[in-house]
């Protein structure tokens, strides 16, 4: 059994002991009174019994009424609309155990630990019959107690030792999960325990509408947004950049670009950044000086990477939120980048420029000069599109597909799977005849919305590339050169592409038609040339733009795809690129088998190891915290209310007034009943005292006198008269 207010229950027990103590202290054995007129006393007692019966009935009625009304008051009867709701009350508790909950407060506790304490107090205060379910709002959102239980002690034990996770808070998903349990019988309530800092509220999502059983209202209560400003520096990103062309040799340095972000208060401060890991030897340190108001900083490291690659860790000085103070990245070893040319081999070796196909020009652009170093950095293989299979893609970073129309039927699915795992597919339109409609199946497999024509279109007069090209991640480093290099490129033929989103277009001609497109797909990319880099289509292959364009497609494409390889807590699992990986070990979890490349979304940061069937370590991946959930900026109550508004009308309450507010809200009739009980208690006391003093008679008799007293009175009267 639980009490609304445990201290009151203890006080009640102590108070109950007071009359018992008084009774014991005052109890004494009274000496019998020797009485002569027992005849009259017995007669009086007999007379009194009749009268006392009426008095006792009156007292009994009052006392019974007191007990009945007190019981009714304690049962907390409800007025108005709640009267129709039957059954026990079910409270769905949402605990914010996201990364923001790891914020360490002045007393040394994390904010999540404080909220757990408040939730425990709240659960203890619930009436014994109330049931509770608990949802954890830190991604990945999940039930802690799915089936509502009345075992409050177990519920408190379940949340007592919970750590805050490193995923972002997702209250919207938590409410969606909660909504699945709201159709049960009885009164429903939802209670959110969160500080509602910026990291707990995702503006991109709106909470769902919450419905109770049969449209009954749901009581929605949320913690008051916290009003204690603090500051937090987090490692927001790590980007490694290494040109495939410089992968070899003693001068092989890895550029590590670390993005720092500061939220909350932004005073003048200093942060120390440390880079270390098994992919390098030693430790690199940098110092960042934050000027007031500055929220972002970038720190560059150049480190020499070990041959076998490995994991690098970037950390900043511990601050109020230590969970986002470090971040991992995997670094590949010094292995050559494998590029697979998928094209027919019929004219390989031809030196006539007008006979070279797009793949030939691509290869030449990759290896512009016969340099031994570059040759070791890039391995170029060729395969006939008609004979290609999934084993050809194993270990391949980039596949340049010159004749997509010749790919085996159904191979587009294999290709899509490879792209999603980090592969970069550069697709060139067929230079001559088209054997079959190839674009639609491939684009559908990759879930790309473009509409690519079946036949190329001659352009007369020829167009040139526009001097102003769209911003694209793929050509970021070429933006300055494109202004000069692009207009010199002539285009005679193009394959019309429709419905391409603006973000997917990399190069356009002077008419605004797309020439080069790029779409991120999973961890990989699809790069599509609407204009085949052949001389019959365009003079791009012989223009200065060709080499840097191809180089950037490979370098930047590789870098971009590598960003999506790492896992993020609560968001995505690490990408398993090697097909030989049979089992992986996630941080804090047991080894699990890899089934169809589906990996559980991790809930902790750390290194993920992949093993083949022989138990050999074949791949290492990392899982990082979701830094977007670590924003410690304060939100106003109105802003939170506006965000939550879509789910219903929320009431905000502080931790110290929870119970009182709930009782006040639910027990308006109980207050009236308690007032009546108090009145009846006073009435009972007065009646009992009145009856004890003589009951219903109001005049107190003086008793009889003797003749001697009468004579004295007579004499007194005579004396006064005289």
């Amino acid at each position: 059994m639980t009490f609304v207010t445990t201290s009151l229950a203890i006080a009640g027990v102590i108070a109950a002991a007071i009359p018992i103590l008084i009774h014991i202290l005052l109890r004494r054995r009274r000496k019998p009174v020797q009485w002569a007129a027992m005849l009259l006393l017995i007669e009086a007692a007999r007379r009194h019994r009749r009268k006392a019966r009426l008095e006792q009935i009156i007292l009994l009625t009052v006392r019974a009424a007191i007990l009945i009304l007190l019981g009714a008051a304690l049962a907390q009867p409800l007025l108005g609309e709640r009267i129709g709701v039957t059954g026990e009350r079910t409270t769905h508790i949402i605990l914010d155990d996201g990364i923001i909950g790891g914020l360490v407060e002045a007393d040394g506790r994390t904010s999540f630990e404080r909220q757990v304490s408040e939730a425990s107090t709240f659960i203890e205060s619930l009436p014994g019959g109330d049931r509770i379910s608990i949802v954890l709002a830190g991604a990945p959102v999940r039930f802690l107690i799915e089936s509502p239980t009345a075992d409050h002690r177990s519920a408190i034990r379940a949340i007592e030792n919970l750590p805050s996770r490193e995923g972002a808070t997702d209250i919207a998903s938590a409410l969606e999960l909660t909504e699945t349990g709201l159709d049960r019988e009885g009164m429903q309530a939802v209670r959110i325990f969160s500080d509602f800092r910026r990291g707990s509220v995702d503006d991109r999502r709106r909470p769902p509408v919450l419905h109770g059983p049969a449209g009954a209202p749901i009581e929605l209560i949320a913690s008051m947004p916290i009003d204690e400003p603090t500051t937090n520096v987090q490692v927001a990103s790590i980007t490694t950049a290494r040109s495939p062309l410089s992968t070899i040799g003693t001068g092989d340095l890895l550029l590590v670009e670390v993005g720092l972000r500061r939220t909350g208060l932004t005073p003048e401060a200093v942060s120390n950044v440390r880079l270390e890991g098994d992919a390098m030897s030693g430790v690199e340190n940098r110092r960042v000086e934050w000027s007031p108001g500055r929220t972002k900083a970038r720190v560059d490291f150049q480190v020499r990477v070990d041959t076998d690659g490995g994991v690098l860790e970037v950390a900043v000085d511990p601050d109020a939120l230590p969970l986002d103070d470090r971040r991992f990245v995997t670094v590949e070893g010094r292995q050559p980048t494998r590029v697979l040319m998928v094209d027919r081999d019929e004219l390989a070796g031809s030196t006539r420029l007008d006979r070279l196909r797009g793949t030939d020009w691509f290869e030449r652009a990759l290896l512009p000069i016969p340099d031994a170093a570059i040759a070791e950095a890039i391995t170029i293989d060729r395969v006939d599109p008609a004979t290609i299979n999934d084993r050809d893609l194993e270990g391949t970073s980039i596949a340049v597909i010159g004749r997509p129309d010749l790919l085996p039927l159904g191979f587009e699915l294999t290709l899509a799977n490879w792209i999603r795992r980090g592969g970069i597919a550069v697709v060139l339109p067929p230079g001559e005849t088209t054997i079959r409609p190839w674009a639609t199946p491939l684009l559908e497999a990759l879930d790309v919305p473009w509409a690519v024509s079946l036949e190329p279109k001659e352009i007369d007069p020829p167009r040139s590339l526009s001097a102003e090209q769209p911003n694209s991640a793929l050509t970021t480093l070429l933006d300055a050169e494109l202004i000069e290099l692009a207009p010199s490129v002539r285009i005679n033929r193009r394959l019309p592409v429709e419905d391409a989103p603006d973000g997917d277009v990399v190069l356009i001609d002077d008419q605004g038609e797309p020439v080069l497109l790029d779409a991120p797909i999973g961890a990989g990319r699809l790069v599509f040339f609407a204009v085949n880099p052949e001389l019959e289509w365009t003079d791009l292959p012989v223009r200065p733009l060709m080499v840097p364009l191809v180089q950037e497609i490979v370098r930047q494409g590789s870098a971009l795809s590598r960003r999506e390889v790492d896992g993020v807590v609560g968001v995505r699992p690490p990408l398993i690129r090697g097909s030989s990986v049979a089992t992986i070990t996630l941080p804090g979890s047991a080894s699990q088998a890899v089934t169809g490349a589906i990996v559980q979304i991790p809930d902790r940061t750390g290194v993920v190891e992949g093993y083949d069937l022989g138990g050999n370590l074949v791949e290492r991946m990392v899982v990082n915290p979701d830094a977007d959930g670590g924003f410690v900026d304060l939100l106003a109550k109105d802003a939170v209310a506006a965000w939550l508004e879509s789910s219903g009308s929320w009431r905000f309450t502080g931790s110290d007034v929870d119970v009182v507010e709930m009782i006040d809200d639910q027990s308006s009739l109980a207050v009236i009943l308690i007032a009546i009980v108090l009145f009846l208690a006073v009435l009972e006391t007065l009646l009992a005292r009145w009856f004890t003093r003589g009951g219903l008679r109001t005049q107190r008799s003086l008793g009889l006198t003797g003749a001697n007293a009468d004579a004295e009175q007579d004499r007194s009267r005579r004396g006064a008269a005289a």
């Binding site: 009274r30 009174v33 005849l39 009086a44 003093r693 006198t705 003749a707 001697n708 004579a711």
Partner: protein
């Protein structure tokens, strides 16, 4: 000489006859004399003066004496004024019945250490109803003997426990005193049996003075009085009750235990007081009506009050009888 002022003499006599005063007299005999003489000296005029028919003695004249009793012969011989004193002649028998049942042991008036009284009062240190009854009885005996009435005494409870035969001899007084002082106070009351035993020993018309608390069923009392009336006797009922019994002003809930074996009941006096007083009033009223209906006198005495009214009532009754009248 007696004080001629009725009021002052009466007040002084009443103070003189207060229980607190007479209780200090250790001698039972002296106490009775004092009570009787106190009453007589307080009277304005002796109600039985002039009723005597037999010369007793002379005494010197003092201012205020009636000149008609002056002995002129003596004045002629000696030139001194003497009054002739007469002794009263009467055929009235006075039988005093004193209740010595256990209920008479009750009393609430505290007495000091060394006070006189009965064994009952000495043990519990209070002026009991029995003390009051014996004081009244002894005084009445003394008074009656002084007037040459034949006096008899009986102590009763569930029957006659002790008695002194009627006589006007001087030795009677000693017997009365001894009986009153030595009789135990115990047992229950059987009023019918007492009347029966009393009537068996009385043949001529007599005045019965019954001093009791009469805490018995009124029917029983009524039956006994009717028998006395039937035998043409005169009766005075002197009901002696303690002030606590009359007013029942107690505050503490307590067990109450009967003195005559009625058992024990737990009651709260505050709760039951009104009903008790109603029952007491009814009981006393019934008793008085019964007495009046039979032509008898009824007097209720408070043990905390003076014993004077009891003696005055007896004297008034005697005077009435001596003139041949009857009250009822």
């Amino acid at each position: 000489m007696t004080d001629s002022t009725p009021g002052s003499a009466g007040m002084r006599a009443e103070q003189y006859l207060a229980p607190e005063t007479i209780g200090q007299l250790t001698s039972f005999e002296f106490r009775a004399r004092m009570i009787a003489e106190g009453v007589m000296s307080g009277m304005h005029r002796s109600p039985y003066q002039g009723l005597a028919v037999e010369f007793a003695e002379h005494r010197q004249y003092v201012s205020g004496d009636d000149l008609k009793h002056l002995d002129w012969k003596v004045f002629g011989r000696s030139d001194k004024l003497y009054l002739k004193q007469y002794q009263q002649e009467t055929n009235l028998d006075v039988v005093i019945l004193v209740d010595a049942s256990a209920s008479m042991r009750f009393g609430t008036l505290k007495v000091k250490q060394g006070w006189g009284g009965t064994d009952a009062s000495t043990r519990i240190g209070t002026w009991t109803k029995f003390d009051h009854a014996t004081a009244v009885g002894a005084a009445l005996c003394y008074l009656a003997l002084q007037q040459r009435d034949r006096v008899g005494l009986a102590m009763f409870a569930d029957g006659i426990k002790a008695q002194v035969k009627r006589s006007n001899a001087k030795s009677t007084w000693r017997s009365v005193i001894r009986t009153l002082a030595t009789e135990t106070v115990d047992d229950t009351t059987d009023f019918g049996k007492v009347v029966e035993q009393t009537l068996a020993s009385v043949s001529n018309r007599s005045l019965f003075v019954i001093v009791s608390d009469f805490l018995v069923p009124t029917d029983m009392v009524k039956a006994g009085l009717a028998r006395l009336r039937h035998r043409r006797h005169d009766v005075m009922l002197m009901q002696v009750l303690d002030r606590q019994e009359l007013q029942f002003d107690l505050d503490e809930p307590s067990p109450f235990e009967g003195l005559e074996g009625e058992g024990r009941i737990n009651i709260d006096p505050r709760v039951i007081r009104e009903d008790y007083l109603a029952a007491l009033t009814k009981h006393c009223s019934t008793l008085e009506k019964t007495a009046r209906s039979l032509g008898f006198d009824y007097l209720r005495l408070d043990t905390h009050g003076s014993v004077g009214p009891a003696l005055a009532a007896l004297l008034a009754r005697r005077a009435l009888l001596a003139r041949g009248g009857r009250a009822g």
